[in-house]
Structures are given as C-alpha cells and as structure tokens.
Symmetry: C2
Subunit: 204 residues, 2 copies
C-alpha cells in the first residue's frame, strides 16, 4: 500500500475514526495536524492541494487525496475482517455508517463542537435556536443504537466492523455535547467492548 498520511484535527471524532481503524489493523499512519478553530484548513495551500472544500479529515494515499471519514475507513478496511464477507451484512454495515453521517454526527458531534469547543455564549442566535432540535434528534439516534444493540454485541454480524468504529467516535464523547450516556445501557456496554479490544487507541 502507498504511504498513508492523515490530515487531521485530533479533537475531531471524524479524524479519530480513521486513526482507530488504522490502529486496529496495525497499519502505519502518518499524521499532519491542523487547528480548525484557527482556520488552518482554509489556507490557500490547503484548499489548492488537500481539499478545495476546506474540510478534514483527508486521507492522503501516496499522491491521492480522499475526504470523508467513512470513505477513508472503508479504504483502509477493504479485504480485512473489519468489513463483513456476507453481501447483505456488508450493505448493512454501510447502512449504519450512512446513519452515522445523517442522523448521528450532525446532532451529537455538532452539539459537542458548539458546547464544548466554541462555547454556548459564543454561538449565533441561529445556532442557539437549533440546540433543542439537535438534542432531541441526537437522543433519537442514541435510542436507535440502544434498541439495535439489545441482544447483539456488535452492529452487524458477530464481530466488530467499520460500523462500530464510525459510531464509536462521537458516541463515546457525547457527554461533552450534553447527552446522558447512562440512559443507554446497551450503548454503554458496547463502548466498553470496543475499549477492551487489543490495539484499541484512545482519542488524543
């Protein structure tokens, strides 16, 4: 495989997913860090070379650049045990990864960013008006996860897959966004299972 370089902000769960995937697989991953709060991914150099959208993470594979955290996890996970062999299970894994980006991250990760890193007093009126909607939708996502994990150890099949990694990233730090993880027993047990894995690496 070409050399792997992760363009990241280590506080971002989206970036951490890729690092956790690489670590679980024992893949060497170089890291190049940016401070998104200081606009370091909005420089002319970053926009022209790494990602014209100014977003991280971007996984650099040799001379190729791959934005979108879950796509990067897929790239690293192909032909490994982190992607199920069964065709329906593989699609079902992607289902939970799309759920993560559509129903989970926009609520749980955004509230963590707003409340923990930006600070409630610094939010715009428009952002403040969305807190309650995001709180309710984030709790719905956690409820859906808790319901699905009842009677299951992992999101898909009998082993950890990329779906678990993608969902772990922002779930395990959801309390920084004001969510009460203690309300979700199955989710809490599942978080512990991931943290007990050999090669687990915590967020910085």
């Amino acid at each position: 495989m070409d050399e792997l370089l992760l363009h990241e902000d280590p506080r971002s769960g989206n970036c951490y997913k890729i690092r956790l995937t690489a670590h679980l697989l024992g893949l060497p991953l170089q890291r190049l860090q940016y401070d998104i709060l200081q606009g370091e991914t909005r420089t002319t150099e970053f926009l022209s070379k790494v990602n014209p959208s100014g977003c991280i993470p971007v996984l650099q594979v040799g001379d190729h650049f791959l934005p979108e955290s879950n796509a990067a996890c897929w790239f690293l996970g192909e032909n490994t045990a982190l992607i199920p062999d069964d065709s329906f299970d593989r699609a079902n894994m992607l289902r939970w990864m799309f759920f993560e980006q559509s129903a989970h991250e926009p609520n749980i990760a955004t509230l963590r960013f707003w409340l923990h890193f930006v600070g409630e007093n610094n939010l715009s009126t428009q952002q403040k008006s969305q807190i309650m909607t995001k709180r309710i939708a984030g709790d719905e996502a956690l409820k859906a996860m808790d319901r699905h994990l009842t009677g299951r150890e992992w999101f898909v099949g009998d082993a950890i897959s990329l779906a678990d990694i993608a969902l772990y990233a922002y779930t395990h730090v959801a309390e920084a966004g004001g969510f009460r993880l203690q309300d979700y027993d199955q989710v809490c047990a599942w978080l512990r299972r991931i943290e007990d894995l050999p090669n687990y690496v915590p967020m910085d």
Copy 2:
C-alpha cells in the same frame, strides 16, 4: 437474488435513487408506497416490521430490511459496473455518497421538502430561521460538484457509478427548493448525460 421490495414515497429522491439503480441494472423491483406527509411510515405495523425509526426508503431483500438509500444502492450495485474495480476509485465513490448525505441532502433535499411540499407558510419559526443557512450550504455543495466535474464526465473514473446516481436524485429537482441550476454549467451537462443513458427512468 432474493425478491426485492422497495418501501418508498415516490416523491422522495432518496427512494428514487434505489429505483434508478435497479432500473439501470435491469433488476426487477417491487414497490410499496407510503405517504410520509400522512404519517404512513409511523404506524405500529411499519415501526414493528419495516423500520423502527419510521424512515424510508427501506429495501426489503427477502425477509431482511435495509434502511438508508445509499446502502441499498450499494447492495444492488455490488459486482456490477456501477461500482469501480479499482480500490481507490471505490473508496472515492463512497466519498461522494457520504458527501451527498452530509453536505448535499440535508440542505438541498430539505429545502425542496420544506418549500415545495410543506409550504413556506407552514414552516415553524425554527425551520424558517434555517432557510438561509441551508441555501448557502446547498449552493456550496453544488459549487463543489461543479468544480469537481470540470474536465470530468462522471464523479469517479470514466463511467457512471453509484456516486452519480446518489447525487443526481436531489440535484435534478433542486429548483423546487429554490436553487438556480443554471448557475452550474458542469452540473447541468452531467444531468443531461445521466438522462441520456439507456434504461434511465425519471422520478414519478
């Protein structure tokens, strides 16, 4: 392959993606229609049998249920020309499908739903306050697409892939959400390429 049944609302672009994928591949697909505005996906039967989250589309494969539009497209597209052979291209295709769910659909599809189906006068104050943010973010997504398509016929590689199908669904009806497609030349040319494909099927 097991019998395929799509639980859908035909006005939804997310549902249409799956129908377009099946049509391009010549796969027979049964359809079961629900009116989301009438709450037909929130009945006890739907929640207990089809999807406890009450969301559509759900692709039913025999006795198995697969929510999330892009995961369903993946399931249908595996081992076909709609998913690239090259490993980086395949991840890059998923990159645009995740982009569609995180940066495109929440803005472009939501404004279409609010303005065209619900009606601006029926929106909550909270929804109304988000229109401008979603307008700007939706235009950013269209700009990113236009930039990427410059010098390219398709999103990834030299042929249509699931990335094109996923992005086509809500882009081609973006004007119903107040977006001006004429501002995006490359996007307009790409929409025509898709509509010229043999086996293309329009949205109902």
